[in-house]
């Protein structure tokens, strides 16, 4: 029951927010998202006590084909749900002081997005999951298109459309894959799909069908070219949703819908994916070094991070698995922080061009400190949340293959290069005419950063809750995947 509330509440909230009108939409959305967070937190004890009534729900939906309305949470789903419900209030809060146009649609779309995301992370029937997966694309498409910040509208339309078509096309492979599997399994339930016996040839085709759709979403090199422009053109809220939560759909799906379903396909093609992942790590990092647009820099940095997560998952080691979960949470938090910092800079100076900025620390010490902490978390400094994830992921890749692990490790150096360079050019030095009147954080902005910074230190010092929560689910996935 509780899970249904957590799932459907954002949908109801979206509706109410829309009906409340522009005046109250923002505050209402914030309130609803906080309530949703509280509700999802209650799921933790329910999950711990194996309270089946509250953490799962199943009913017949469509007779033929046999589709169930089946949702439930295990530790992995729960973590992703919590990441979503925790980040949405931060994202809403970050947008409040800006007062976007047509607020009621804007906030209703965010909440609708949340509904779809929670659905993706909790659905255990593949068809239902697919519906949520596609549903998630709709609100983000409109948010990015209608509230986008890029000055060149034509370019923005193209960038967002490209993102839409690219991910949409990718998803269709997955649908075909599920339909193909259905003829063997006779259903779409994860329990029916896990451990199916398929020939190697079938596994190969299905593997690529699924992998491509997830890889586009994550994105894994070379399926990433929609990303930098889409991140740049979307409004800050859209970018945060995309990078903070939506790309986790792809990573989560690797664990939930690929590894346990097609173990042989995975085994056959792991070397390719590992190489792609590690290429992404180095490729993204090297490109980030010379990016002059702050959002594009973070986009390429994100490409490097998720490449490593993908490689960690496919390393099929405990360290890689655990690292991927810890890093998914960390990346979600940090990337939201980074893009919010970029947004603050954009609001005050009207530019994201690194070469035009500088000296902000002189006039905005609070912002400088917060930005530095988030940057350090992204550099994976120990006792920030970025460290343990990266450490475990690199170790996982290293266990898989020493050379690949060592190459992926270069990210440790490159991340310092591009992020410290960025920070220096944006924040340090003397102020210029653009930054001289840069005002420090407002209380609302500061409030949005507080949970981000808190999460950075809490999970950096004590990542155990995440690891404990994820462990049983990861054990099951690994058992299927290694069969």
């Amino acid at each position: 029951m509780l899970l249904l509330i957590v799932l459907f509440f954002p949908l109801v909230a979206a509706l109410i927010t829309y009906l409340l009108g522009n005046r109250y939409a923002g505050k209402a959305a914030l309130l609803f998202s906080v309530l949703e967070l509280v509700a999802s937190l209650v799921l933790i004890p329910a999950y711990r006590n194996a309270d089946a009534l509250n953490i799962s729900y199943l009913t017949e939906w469509i007779q033929n084909p046999h589709i169930l309305f089946q949702v439930s949470v295990d530790g992995l789903s729960l973590l992703m749900v919590l990441l979503t419900t925790a980040l949405i209030p931060v994202i809403i809060l970050s947008s409040l002081s800006k007062e976007p146009e047509n607020q009621r649609s804007f906030y209703a779309l965010i909440l609708l997005m949340q509904f779809a995301l929670v659905g993706v992370f909790t659905a255990t029937d593949a068809f239902l999951y697919y519906i949520f997966w596609e549903l998630a694309l709709i609100p983000i498409y409109f948010i990015a298109l209608l509230w986008g910040e890029g000055k060149d509208k034509e370019f923005r339309n193209r960038a967002i459309f490209k993102f839409f078509i690219y991910t949409m096309a990718g998803s269709l492979f997955m649908l075909l894959g599920f339909i193909y599997l259905y003829q063997y399994a006779g259903g779409f339930g994860s329990s029916e799909l896990y451990g199916l016996h398929l020939s190697d040839k079938e596994q190969t085709f299905l593997f690529w069908a699924f992998f491509v759709s997830f890889a586009v979403k994550i994105p894994v090199f070379p399926f990433h070219t929609w990303q930098p422009d889409a991140y740049k053109e979307a409004p800050a809220v859209g970018t945060m949703l995309l990078a903070g939560i939506m790309l986790k759909m792809g990573l989560y799906s690797l664990l939930r819908w690929l590894l346990p379903v097609l173990p042989h396909g995975v085994m056959l093609w792991t070397p390719v994916v590992m190489v792609l992942g590690v290429i992404g790590v180095i490729y993204g990092s090297v490109i980030a070094i010379r990016q002059s647009d702050l959002k594009k820099l973070f986009a390429y940095s994100s490409l490097a991070h998720v490449g490593l997560i993908t490689a960690g998952i496919f390393s099929m080691t405990r360290a890689g698995f655990q690292g991927s979960v810890v890093q998914m949470v960390a990346h979600g938090v940090n990337v939201v922080g980074l893009f919010f910092a970029a947004e603050i800079i954009y609001r005050r100076t009207g530019t994201l061009d690194i070469s035009k900025l500088g000296g902000i620390r002189n006039v905005a010490p609070k912002f400088a400190a917060v930005f530095m902490i988030i940057m350090l978390a992204s550099v994976a400094l120990p006792i920030t949340n970025g460290f343990i994830g990266e450490f475990l992921l690199l170790f996982g890749v290293y266990e898989y293959n020493t050379i690949l692990g060592a190459i992926a490790g270069i990210t440790v150096i490159l991340a310092a290069v591009y992020l410290f360079r960025m920070y220096q050019n944006v924040m340090l030095g003397e102020t210029n005419e653009l930054t001289a009147k840069f005002t420090d954080l407002t209380p609302t902005e500061f409030a949005a950063f507080v949970p981000v910074v808190a999460a950075i230190f809490i999970f950096g010092i004590y990542p155990k809750p995440i690891m404990e929560l994820a462990q049983p689910a990861l054990d099951i996935i690994m058992n299927y995947a290694l069969k």
Partner: protein, 640 residues
């Protein structure tokens, strides 16, 4: 254990106070908070230290909490368990004393030095944070906790080098320090991965037991120790990763004294000394460490001879002295290396602080060509600087004499060439140190009249730490009096429990008394000759270093530091920058994105045809699918 917690947490609390409330606090409070918190740590460290000396304190090794652990209880599969744990033994307590003792003095000094700086509270918050991370580094009971401290001190180093962040060249120096250190850190990380992979642990005690129990896999031990040493090369500024340290002098002088001379840069020595049980199983690595160390020592000493910036001379001197420490570790004289860490902390901190006092007195002047005759105005600075210079030059009976002699004797026993290079480096050390002393404090003042009017001795917060440190630099050597003269070598005995894995023969002592005495006399006379030459050149003949741009030939090569920075720029930085542009502008935008657009366009075109036959969009997507799968197989084929 409570004492230990307070020792670590006191500076952290100081950091939080100054960082969060520093602006609201009264003007002088931040310096006092910063100093008092470190002083608390120092007093408690003394208690622990005394406990170890008197034998009442036992080694402590315990996890505070479970940090990173996973595994499967169900399948019984061995997972990984890394605690957040602390280890206190004779080795860490030695470092504790240096960090908190010298650290406290430098904090006091900073009160005077940073007085009036508008970001004083920020400065002290960073300093306290540094002490916190440094303490964690030496107190971790496993490599990962050490790594927290390792990276943490790197961060503080970055923050403090670029403390005056309006100046982008200072920021560049800070960034360079962090990035070069990260290159080393990758080695450290990979070394940890190997250990974790083969021994399922990073805990020092567990590793030592596991390695002792298993048959030695020689190649593995070499790989592990070399990788860890790469980490040490970064942090302790050894060839080829030393270039950040001279640039790091951009930071305020107390920072140079604390971080870039006395404590942080010795972290590499600590790490290897701590991992001695691995190194002794890899003699090839030991040899490598010794060679890198002694070559670094010579190389940096040569550069030091030609530098004219008072802090740069000291910076290269530090690189050189660190090289000698690694030489000692490499030849198996672990406790001698640690001995030199301690004495070096005294005299080098004193030298840096003295240089700071000079710079302070001259209102920012750092060029020794524009100094001279300062002993008249700054007697305390002069005398303390002189004592420390004698100590670093290895003049009897000051501290450097004993520690350096011990290292060189061990090197002599190990290999004559290493000893010869090390001795020559020491000779150069004595020379450039006295070149520095004579040019700065003797002769006539060469600055402007305006400067001359304002020269003054520094205030007591500055001079008292100088006096204390110079006293320590003078007598610090007595903790390690040579055994062959019938003395009791206290430090060696004290550290013996840490180095149980080190074979006695390797730890020195194989030389005859006569040989030891001879070496000692030789080292001493080298130092004296070097000082005499410096005296002849800079006092009797009143030579001056050449003005900017007048160097030529070999001198220019040395003055320009052998163009190492320029070479790195050409070989590493420029190519990466080029690659970054190429990957973005061509590979990403044109090739990869081009393929995507191409697939899309073909699909659209064909889709238009297909639409005539069928009716909907499905065909479009099917074609996209088909084309993409072809592309994927193409990729897969190429990559396999």
């Amino acid at each position: 254990m409570t004492n230990l917690y307070i020792i670590i947490l006191a500076p952290l609390i100081g950091f939080l106070l100054n960082a969060l409330a520093g602006k609201q606090l009264p003007k002088n409070a931040s310096g006092i908070i910063g100093s008092v918190t470190v002083f608390i740590s120092f007093i408690l460290s003394c208690v622990l230290f005394y406990g170890f000396v008197s034998g009442t304190q036992q080694k402590m090794d315990a996890d505070v909490f479970d940090w990173v652990s996973f595994g499967s209880a169900a399948t019984g599969e061995a997972g990984i368990k890394i605690g957040f744990g602390l280890l206190l033994d004779q080795l860490s307590v030695m470092w504790l004393m240096v960090i908190t003792g010298v650290g406290f003095l430098i904090h006091i000094y900073s009160i005077g030095y940073m007085h009036g700086d508008e970001k004083e509270h920020v400065f002290f918050s960073y300093m306290n944070l540094f002490v916190f991370f440094m303490l964690l580094l030496v107190l971790g009971n496993n490599l990962l906790v050490t790594y927290i401290g390792w990276e943490g001190v790197g961060l503080c180093s970055y923050l403090l080098i670029g403390f005056w962040f309006k100046n982008q060249s200072f920021n560049n120096a800070g960034k360079k320090a962090f990035i070069v250190n990260r290159i080393g850190d990758l080695g450290f990380l990979l070394g940890m991965f190997l250990l974790l992979f083969h021994f399922k642990s990073l805990h020092f005690g567990t590793l030592q037991a596991a390695i002792a129990a298993a048959p030695v896999n020689h190649a593995l031990m070499i790989a592990i120790t070399v990788l860890l040493f790469v980490g040490a090369m970064g942090k302790s500024a050894q060839i080829p990763l030393y270039t950040w340290l001279p640039d790091a002098m951009a930071g305020p002088t107390p920072v140079s004294a604390l971080i870039h001379a006395a404590t942080m840069v010795t972290a590499g020595v600590y790490m290897i000394a701590r991992s001695n049980f691995m190194y002794v199983l890899a003699p090839e690595t030991m040899q490598f460490v010794a060679i890198i160390g002694v070559v670094t020592s010579l190389f940096a000493a040569i550069i030091g001879v030609m530098q004219n910036d008072i802090k740069k001379v000291l910076a290269y001197s530090t690189v050189s002295q660190l090289g000698l420490m690694f030489m000692a570790l490499g030849v198996g004289a672990f406790s001698s290396g640690v001995f030199h860490v301690v004495t070096h902390a005294f005299f080098k901190a004193c030298l840096f602080l003295g240089a700071g006092s000079v710079i302070h007195g001259l209102h920012g002047e750092q060029d020794i060509r524009k100094m001279g005759g300062l002993k008249k105005w700054m007697p305390i600075t002069y005398w303390t600087f002189l004592i420390s210079s004698l100590a670093i030059s290895g003049i009897f009976p000051l501290s450097g004499f004993f520690s350096k002699d011990e290292m060189l004797a061990a090197a002599f026993e190990h290999h004559k060439i290493i000893w010869a290079i090390g001795s020559f480096a020491s000779f150069l050390t004595a020379f450039y140190m006295f070149r520095l002393v004579f040019l700065t404090f003797n002769g006539e003042f060469r600055g402007t009249e305006e400067q001359k009017k304002h020269i003054h001795e520094s205030s007591s917060t500055i001079t008292i730490p100088l006096i204390v440190l110079s006293l320590l630099a003078a007598v610090g050597g007595f903790m390690g009096l040579p055994e062959f003269l019938g003395f009791h070598h206290w430090l060696k005995g004290f550290l013996a429990p840490v180095f149980t894995a080190v074979p006695v023969a390797e730890a020195g002592g194989g030389l005859s008394h006569g040989a030891e005495l001879g070496l000692m006399a030789f080292a001493l006379s080298l130092g004296l000759i070097a000082i005499a030459i410096a005296y002849l050149l800079y006092i009797s003949k009143k030579n001056l270093p050449l003005a900017e741009g007048e160097e030529s030939g070999l001198g220019k090569l040395v003055y320009r530091k052998f163009y190492v920075d320029e070479i790195y720029d050409l070989l590493v930085v420029k190519p990466i920058m080029f690659l970054s542009g190429l990957l973005h502008d061509f590979v990403d935008r044109v090739v990869v994105d081009g393929v995507v657009s191409w697939v899309g366009r073909i699909a659209l075109m064909t889709g238009a045809q297909v639409r005539k036959l069928q009716s909907g969009y499905i065909g479009f997507y099917l074609l996209v699918m088909a084309m993409s799968i072809v592309v994927i197989f193409f990729y897969a084929f190429i990559l396999k």
